[in-house]
């Protein structure tokens, strides 16, 4: 039974991932990303990380990818991508080669098992009685409290950054750009000196 779930999940993950990198239309790529995430959901459930699986779908598939789709729809990026001119001649084969190198490297490194030195540390037992959520919560709010608070601050910062970066600059009441101010001042001065020639020499040049 575990093998059946693993294989279905693996098939979904690989199909989705290949879809993301091979399809032309970005919306289709986003949908294949959701498909991949459902595969990861299955793998998480199979390993007993059930709360994380649910959170993965709620946050990743249910919010992050929707954000992607919003941007794609708003900005009309759903034109077909130009596969044409590329600055480096051999970019594509080189990129595929580098991807393969990365994969082989990871697999080779995973055979090394003398990484750690010192005694093994453990934040909390995973197996045993009690539910996954309870153990996760205990660990998160006691041992990992500082990272938790820092990620909360990070989220607030991210929201503020997004709002600041994507709003349009509205000039507030009375705001004028320096160029417009200069133009206004010179037009006033020329109007004054035209109406009263005696003032011509006495209008001061603006201090820079």
């Amino acid at each position: 039974m575990d093998w059946a779930v693993y294989l279905v999940g693996a098939a979904m993950i690989l199909t989705g991932a290949l879809g993301v990198i091979l399809l032309r239309n970005p919306v289709h790529c986003a949908l294949m990303l959701v498909f991949t995430m459902f595969g990861i959901f299955l793998e998480f459930i199979n390993q007993g990380a059930d709360f994380l699986a649910a959170v993965q779908i709620i946050v990743y598939a249910g919010a992050v990818v929707i954000l992607f789709l919003f941007v794609i729809m708003f900005l009309g990026v759903d034109r077909k991508e130009a596969i044409g001119a590329e600055r480096l001649r051999f970019q594509r084969p080189l990129a595929i080669l580098l991807g393969l190198v990365a994969l082989v490297e990871i697999l080779a490194l995973s055979r090394v098992d003398h990484w750690v030195s010192g005694a093994p540390a453990q934040s909390g037992a995973l197996k045993g009685a009690g539910s996954n959520v309870a153990k996760l919560g205990q660990s998160l709010y006691t041992g990992y409290l500082l990272p938790f608070e820092m990620t909360a601050a990070l989220l607030v910062i991210a929201v503020v950054a997004a709002v600041v970066m994507s709003r349009r600059h509205q000039p507030s009441a009375g705001e004028m750009s320096p160029a417009a101010q200069k133009e206004l001042r010179e037009s006033h001065q020329s109007a004054l000196s035209a109406s009263d020639p005696s003032l011509a020499g006495r209008l001061e040049a603006p201090s820079e």
Binding site: D50, I58, V133, A173
Partner: protein, 420 residues
């Protein structure tokens, strides 16, 4: 309690058959409820408007939904030329399937025994049960968004963007109020089980009948917030600008016809039925109710409560006017989310002080004093907060009025006509 006792002894053929039977039963229940609800809504809205509802098709009009379905099936099924074919076909199912699956976590009764296998009267009781509601709501947004985009024309796209923005805004309130319920359940029944829907329902049973329901344990406010949020999540009136014909000429399902439109229609009512069932599970104790001659009749009480909630939704539809889009977003982000968060913290305070053990007047006072202080503080803070939002809205109106008068380079221009 670890989960459904059906799976306690491994998977045999009997277990698979019982599971299959439960799947078919849940599917039938949802479909029949949807057909009933389509008909009941039209009838009840009509009665509330002092007129007859549909009364031609079948006895007193009760076959109307069947007639509607048949008519929709016979319409021409076309695909717009500029549509994205695969996504256009997929979108209705993305909306329908998660919502129908979400009914599987709803507990409808206690336990029944079939062929020496005891099982809960619910399709599934996973350890993360109640999170399934949030997952289903998240995936249903895809159906709405992709329906509008894949139609390849302007008005559906606009409608779908507005609809999906509405849906994701109210998901946060759903999550916060659900977290309140889970917290109360965890405190009552052990922290590990609080996400099982079976445990949520079991924690609401007790000697004092409905006084144990979460409706009361979270002091009403969370229930009200959840109800508003789930109404917006289903795009039911008064949050149904998604379907406002005067504004959008049809909304995200404009370019759909025949069977695909039927799926959207079905999905909307399936969402109504499923979300009412979950509301009853979370807040009204699900199948809890008085026993009859020593036997518990859980499914009957569950059905009664769900029907009451469904009537409330129909009543609200017949009564309240529609919210404007900016009012809706304002409500979700600026009022409901801070309120839900603040109430979560207050209920957390309740739970902590309720765990103060010991008898005697001093301890009782310690447990309840927090409650009174908290409620008083909540009321004061809410009034201050709302006042602050009003004042902030007034200030930005003044600034907009000033901008109307001064062009960006400082010259005066005539005020645009009308009030600021």
């Amino acid at each position: 309690m670890g989960g459904d006792p059906l799976f306690a002894h491994g998977l045999s053929l009997a277990v698979w058959l019982i599971l299959l039977g439960k799947v078919v039963a849940v599917f039938v229940i949802v479909l029949v409820s949807v057909l009933f609800m389509v008909m009941y809504e039209r009838k009840a809205v009509a009665w509330l408007g002092v007129r007859y509802g549909p009364n031609r098709a079948g006895p007193n009009g009760w076959l109307q939904s069947l007639a509607d379905g048949t008519k929709l099936l016979f319409k021409e099924a076309f695909t717009p030329r500029t549509a994205d074919k695969w996504v256009y076909k997929l979108a209705p199912y993305l909306m329908l399937v998660p919502i129908m699956i979400a009914f599987s976590i709803v507990p409808m009764g206690g336990e029944i025994t079939i062929a020496h296998h005891t099982t809960y009267v619910q399709l599934a009781d996973p350890p993360w049960g109640i999170l399934f509601l949030l997952m289903a709501s998240g995936i249903a947004v895809y159906g709405v968004m992709l329906a509008g985009w894949a139609s390849g024309s302007k008005y559906p796209l606009l409608g779908s963007v507005r609809a999906s923005a509405q849906l994701i805004s109210y998901e946060a309130v759903l999550g916060l109020t659900t977290a309140t319920v889970v917290m109360v359940t965890g405190n009552a029944s052990g922290f590990g089980d609080a996400l099982h829907t079976h445990a949520i329902v079991a924690a609401q049973s007790g000697h004092l009948a409905f006084l144990h329901w979460n409706f009361i344990h979270t002091a009403f406010v969370s229930f009200i917030l959840f109800t508003i949020a789930i109404t917006a999540e289903m795009t039911r009136p008064p949050f149904d600008l998604v379907e406002a014909e005067e504004e959008l000429s049809g909304g995200y399902n404009l370019e759909y016809s025949s069977i695909d439109f039927a799926w959207f229609y079905l999905a909307e009512y399936a969402a109504l039925v499923t979300n009412s069932a979950i509301l009853v599970t979370l807040w009204f104790g699900g199948p809890n109710g008085p026993t009859v001659f020593g036997h518990s009749i859980g499914p009957f009480w569950f059905a009664v409560k769900v029907l009451v909630v469904l009537y409330l939704y129909v009543w609200v539809r017949a009564t309240l006017p529609r919210l404007r889009y900016d009012q809706l977003m304002d409500l979700g982000w600026k009022r409901l989310i801070p309120f839900a968060l603040a109430w979560l913290m207050i209920v957390a305070g309740f739970q902590v002080t309720n765990n103060v053990s010991g008898s005697g007047f001093g301890h009782w006072l310690a447990q309840k004093a927090w409650g009174f202080v908290a409620i008083g503080a909540a009321i004061v803070l809410a009034v201050l907060f709302l006042r602050a939002v009003e004042v902030g809205g007034g200030a930005s109106e003044v600034e907009t009025a000033q901008q109307d008068r001064l062009a960006p380079d400082g010259r005066e221009v005539a005020r645009r006509g009308g009030t600021p």
